[in-house]
């Protein structure tokens, strides 16, 4: 049976993980490769690396890091952050990324999704949607939630799927950082509206939140960052818990 996926997310800046971690036994908590390997051993199903570097050297640094990750880890990983062109994607995939994720650039230029799907196949194109409830409607926001758009989240989810997105990474800016649980309503609506897998993100605070997003919203995967980095939830414990709730997970 296809299992629900647990995906730790690592924020990368200048080749290092940021926000820090609480893995005190790691030699260097800022080393993304070391942290990634740790998550692999613990049973993470996939990893996401979001690059927030804003320098001109970015492309080269990131390509080297991706290669380093691909050399060391034996599970799939997605790379996102500032991807704007076919060439950007080509470099990341050539260096061993399994999937790439685009967000703001897809909103600015939706044709990019078609272009990427045509060149590389839908299976490696993740489109990330940041969403926020504005006047009681869930709308798409960009630039890390700072810019609102007029796009309705469900409409946008359908459009990106038609354009060739193979997966949707849905982050609720309402819930992100609150530790009060994932956004069940919009995740459910998106999951119902599209045929591709949906990764829920934003708001995970305890193990029950993961069970809820899988059982109530039919998310295919759940992503979180700080609760894993700071060991508030250990992945093996989380998987045992989900399994006890009759949620299929890889243990």
């Amino acid at each position: 049976m296809l299992t629900k996926r647990i995906i730790p997310c690592l924020d990368i800046k200048d080749g290092r993980t940021v926000k820090g971690t609480n893995f005190i036994e790691l030699r260097d908590a800022g080393d993304p490769v070391e942290l990634a390997m740790r998550y692999c051993e613990e049973g993470a199903d996939e990893l996401v690396f979001l690059d927030i570097t804003a320098t001109t050297e970015k492309r080269k640094t990131l390509a080297n890091l991706v290669r380093e990750i691909a050399t060391h880890i034996n599970i799939p990983f997605t790379v996102g952050g500032g991807i704007n062109t076919v060439e950007d994607v080509s470099i990341l995939l050539e260096n061993g990324a399994d999937k790439i994720s685009i967000n703001t650039s897809a909103v600015k230029k939706p044709g990019l999704i078609n272009e990427l799907a045509k060149n590389f196949g839908s299976q490696c194109i993740v489109v990330a949607i940041d969403t926020k409830k504005i006047d009681s409607n869930w709308k798409v926001v960009t630039h890390g939630g700072r810019n609102a758009t007029s796009l309705l989240t469900v409409d946008w989810a359908k459009e990106i799927t038609q354009r060739g997105a193979g997966e949707i990474l849905l982050t609720s800016m309402e819930n992100d950082g609150t530790k009060a649980g994932f956004a069940i309503d919009i995740t459910k609506d998106v999951s119902k509206s599209v045929a591709v897998p949906v990764i829920a993100s934003g708001g995970a605070g305890n193990m029950k939140h993961f069970a809820e997003i899988f059982q109530q919203a039919n998310a295919d995967a759940a992503l979180a960052a700080s609760i894993f980095h700071f060991k508030e939830i250990a992945i093996p414990d989380l998987k045992r818990y989900l399994s006890s709730q009759q949620i299929p997970v890889r243990v």
Binding site: E94, P197, A221
Partner: protein, 197 residues
């Protein structure tokens, strides 16, 4: 031992090479006919679209080379599908080593079936040295919208809406639908097993 990975217009070739490195094997990625022919083991990976991959292979006469290989060959994902007779993906005639096996699309009308299938699913009815030391029902990582139907060549099955071939074998040709290079320790064991055949 000399292991080659066939280079063509497909993704994830690098990942296979990295995975082999992790188990201590240096494989050559090449489209050189002689190097492929003289290799001890050949890996035919692939992520992508069937018709463009077949066209690429034909342009370089790699199609003729692949079907003539005598040493153990492992097709992965699209590589495995291309070893079959025909794929519903853009109505593509494939290499036909598995001369009766058809590649079909998952049924999009089936409720709750997300397409592509992305993630970890378990493999059943393991019947090949390829699965030595791999426990029944182990989890492997799959990413695909098309599948090889069950046949007399099936050596492992998986369920996703239908029961289909997770792995197939005929003579020296092996194929796996999942990605051993991304399937953690299970995948590493499978690659070791293939190299030990």
């Amino acid at each position: 031992m000399n292991t080659v990975i066939i280079k063509y217009n497909s993704g994830n070739i690098q990942s296979v090479q990295f995975a082999l490195q992790r188990i201590g094997v240096n494989a050559v990625v090449t489209d050189d006919m002689e190097k492929i022919k003289s290799a001890d083991k050949v890996i035919f990976p692939g992520v992508g679209e069937a018709s463009s991959a077949m066209n690429f292979l034909k342009e370089r006469k790699l199609n003729e080379l692949i079907i003539s290989l005598q040493q153990p060959v492992l097709g992965i994902c699209l590589g495995m599908q291309l070893l079959c007779k025909h794929s519903e993906e853009n109505d593509t005639d494939c290499l036909g080593i598995f001369e009766t096996v058809m590649v079909k699309k998952f049924d999009p009308t089936e409720a709750n079936l997300k397409i592509p299938q992305i993630g970890w699913n378990n493999i059943h009815h393991l019947q090949s040295p390829l699965f030595n030391l791999i426990p029944a029902d182990s989890y492997c990582y799959f990413v695909h919208s098309y599948y090889a139907e069950k046949s007399q060549h099936t050596i492992a099955t998986t369920e996703y809406g239908v029961t289909y071939s997770a792995a197939i074998q005929k003579n020296n040709f092996y194929g796996v639908q999942f990605h051993p290079e991304k399937s953690a320790v299970v995948g590493e064991q499978l690659l070791k097993n293939f190299l030990a055949i």
